[in-house]
């Protein structure tokens, strides 16, 4: 604990320097408070005792996103950055894993991955070779709220990349043979994933927080039994229902202007027809008091994966930015309360953190760590101690300012690459946010008051509604976590993969 407080008090010092920005002082003149009676030449290194004063803060450069719409409803999203001849070209889709029908979890994932298994009559090999000739391998990412396929190419290859992407998006082959292959690959991937303690934790966690009936209650990749039931007909049906110009965005970032992008969009997507619209918002799940502690037994595992969390907020919720700040102080930074406790003070873990994922529907608020097996119980005690600590040791002005400044000032550096810009543009589209979202984020972070941050911290980080999932040695968990009375210890066997 001592260490944590030392850190916090020093943060205060630096924060004070930053709030009063002045040009850097003359090196030979340490601040008066430093060594009042000592002649400056006595210790030539004395100037190191104080952190330097920062210069005038630079203007905050936020990424700029521009938007246009084609007549067919296709959104065109652009962020121009001209320094290097690179362009990111992609297509974002408004439906993701949350749109998987009951019993067919993994359908969205398979459907989008099928787009790259052949298109416009080109088989998957020919299609891949065409991308390879441009120096890239496209990949699809599917998340609960949307999906995204795209590539970063040299500017001179952008037109050709877009031509290929339009085939991929608009004219997938959906051949039976390719589907069978893709499905088998997906099932085998789930077998492999069962070896990863992190995947097992995620699977149990989504179920514990959202419940299996909620659209966010399952992994996007599906489970063996649900993927097994998916047919090519399902894939075609999902595509028909969810993919169309009104539910998609062409994303171009880098060395390209809005005008150029619109022209390219018209060329390759202008005659795309369809009336599909984005799906309804996932419902808001209740944050229920914890009844049980779920654990996935992995006998002999040297570490225990600890995941603690609950439903948080939806994107655009009035508490969003206050909660972002509270979570950052709690576990969002390396220097956060949770990490400093579990890693730097106790040495229980390689790292511990917390984050809030504001989704279209209510996203999870999660704290997690992998801890040495023999300190599973003590580590969990510290998780709860830090959660209770939010009430007992309210977030200080200094912690709050550090988190606020850190989050805001890190924004420009987070947008150095065209692929980073592209991914953010896709997020704006999935989450249905306005183009000035980053300016709103800055305002939201700036305006959150200490009282508000403390209120949401207590509301969302309170221990009682925190679900707990552990993956690790069952004996250790029973011995160490059982007596803690956090709820009934409930084993959850990993879902058995198919025998084939």
């Amino acid at each position: 604990m001592r260490r944590l407080f030392v850190a916090v008090s020093l943060l205060a010092l630096a924060a004070a320097c930053r709030t009063a920005p002045e040009p850097a002082p003359e090196p030979s003149q340490p601040p008066a408070s430093e060594a009042p009676a000592t002649p400056p030449q006595e210790d030539p290194e004395a100037f190191r005792n104080q952190p330097p004063k920062p210069g005038e803060p630079p203007e905050l450069v936020l990424p700029k996103f521009e938007q246009a719409k084609l007549d067919n409803g296709l959104t065109v999203l652009v962020s121009t950055r001209k320094e290097l001849p690179l362009v990111f070209v992609g297509v974002a889709f408004a439906s993701g894993g949350s749109q998987d029908p009951k019993g067919k979890w993994g359908l969205a994932d398979i459907t989008y991955k099928m787009l790259l298994e052949g298109a416009a009559g080109k088989d998957s090999q020919t299609l891949d070779q065409a991308f390879q000739d441009l120096g890239v391998s496209p990949s699809v990412s599917v998340n609960p709220d949307g999906a995204f396929v795209g590539v970063r190419v040299l500017e001179r290859n952008a037109d050709e990349a877009l031509a290929l992407l339009s085939d991929v998006v608009r004219r997938p082959n959906f051949a039976q043979k390719d589907f069978e292959r893709r499905k088998k690959l997906q099932l085998a991937e789930l077998v492999r994933a069962m070896g990863s303690p992190g995947f097992l934790a995620q699977q149990a966690y989504l179920d514990a927080v959202f419940g299996p009936a909620h659209p966010y209650g399952h992994p996007v990749s599906g489970l063996p039994a649900t993927v097994e039931t998916v047919t090519l007909k399902d894939v075609k049906g999902f595509y028909q229902k969810n993919v169309g110009p009104r539910a998609a965005a062409l994303v171009m970032t880098g060395d390209v202007t809005l005008e150029e992008a619109v022209a390219l969009a018209k060329k390759y997507f202008g005659d795309w027809k369809g009336s599909t619209t984005p799906p309804p918002l996932p419902p808001e799940p209740a944050a229920l008091p914890r009844q049980q502690v779920v654990y996935v037994p992995k006998p002999g595992l040297d570490q225990t994966v600890v995941v603690v969390g609950r439903p948080g907020v939806a994107v655009g919720h009035p508490d969003e930015y206050a909660l972002e700040l509270a979570t950052t102080v709690f576990g969002g930074f390396f220097g956060s309360r949770l990490n400093m406790n579990l890693r730097e003070d106790k040495g229980y873990s390689y790292g511990a953190g917390a984050s809030t994922d504001a989704r279209l529907g209510v996203g999870p608020l999660t704290a997690s760590s992998a801890v040495r097996k023999d300190v599973t119980g003590p580590a969990l005690t510290e998780f709860f101690r830090e959660m209770k600590g939010i009430r007992e040791r309210p977030i200080t002005q200094k912690e709050l300012e550090a988190a606020r400044e850190g989050l805001i000032r890190a924004i420009p550096g987070g947008f150095e690459s065209v692929e980073g810009l592209g991914a953010s543009a896709a997020q704006l589209f999935f989450l249905r946010r306005p183009m000035d979202e980053f300016a709103r984020t800055v305002t939201g972070l700036e305006k959150a008051t200490p009282a508000e941050v403390q209120r949401v911290a207590e509301k969302y980080l309170g221990p009682d509604a925190m679900q707990v999932v552990l993956v690790g040695d069952p004996e250790v968990i029973q011995q160490q976590v059982g007596p803690m009375e956090l709820g009934k210890l409930t084993p959850r066997e990993p879902v058995a993969p198919p025998k084939r």
């Binding site: 850190a7 320094e83 991308f131 000739d133 040297d302 390689y350 692929e419």
Partner: protein, 466 residues
Amino acid sequence: MKALITAAVLALGLPAFAQQQEAKPLGPGREALAIPHEKYKLPNGLEVILARDPKLPVVAVNVWYHVGAYNEQPGRTGFAHLFEHMMFQGSKHVPDDVHIAMLEQLGANDLNGTTNFDRTNYFETVPSNHLATALWLESDRMGFLLDALDEKKLRTQQEVVKNERRQGYETRPYGLAQEKLWKALFPAPHPYHGKVIGSMEDLNAATMEDVKAFFRTWYAPSNATLAVVGDFDPKEARALIEKYFSTLPSGPKPEKPQVAPVKISGEKVIRHDEKVGTLPMVVMSWLTPPYLTEGDATADVLANALGTGKSSRLYKRLVQDKELAQSVSAHQQSLGAQSVFTLEAVARPGVTSDALAKELDAVLEEVRREGITQQELNRARTRFETQMLAGLQSVGGFGGKADVLQSYNHYTGDPGFLDEDLERYDAVTPEKVRAFAREYLRPDARVVLHAVPSQNDSAPAAKETH
């Protein structure tokens, strides 16, 4: 050429010297890859590389210490990396645990330290008005680490690193298997023996004396290079670097140990009883020429043709056509003393690692016989060039501009080696690839690892796969 000139001037012991390196004219279409920079040295031996890039109001500060796992003592594996952790624990003027927290709260990105076999680096990208803070932090741990060192910090970081090892090896699919493979490639006492993370036993054995000796030997300004890349005023940056680094005491640059290359005579086969991963895996590795030497770029091209994309040779045959493998990969891990070329395949449920090995061999035989096509070669070149350009989008972080300059400087003495690097790829021919496969990827000069989940393992997932 340029590197030689710079080195000669410095050898004369001239005071801080710098000359703007005009970016060399690069080949047509490659102009955007030029990184104008300047390099100079402080009297205490610290090398400095400055490169302006005003695209965003951020600046990357990146320090490379020319020491890695290669420089560890026998029985002290993992020490270079453990030491890296100690560099975040506070120094004379920077209180405990403050380094990272302070950078985070002023909005730093790409903030970390990493250790590999050949070097250790520390980096952060800060808003441009905080350059002085980053330099203050880096200089304090370079000059005054030992003043603030104590036993408790060492003990805590030993635990943290052991947890890092558990996370990366003991509880990660195939983690321990990969370690066995590596040890077979570089038998003790080769300094690459053992992974960078080290063994639990050696991590436990580290003492305060080890830490102090390591710092005194390897962390002198004369064994470090500071790169500052981004939106800064060159005059001001030089003055700040002078202020924070010039008074740090230094010694002579430590000598790099010379080690004879390893030669593998006869195939070594390892069968590992896999406890974490659920599918059988086979890995084949060969020792290949060091980074940037003849053959290294050829290996990159071959790895691309074999394992990148759905139409690559291994993917097509093992994953797509025969449906035996779940995933395949091929890569050249380029290292300063000796590189490692690796093929890896993870089996589908029910498929044995031996069946995969047979297929890998068939593809290799084809390459030894026929080489690769000009088209495959062209694809690889386009990919590398695109990747290179993409790396330059970031001033710092992994693979960003600062890292590119540092890396070339570390291995060749010339931060501006990028052009020569690309020329290596221009010089690769299909015939060279074939010759490389024949000369280096020999069946009798490799280590083959089979990681096979045990049949009667208690992990339910593994049980179900058979």
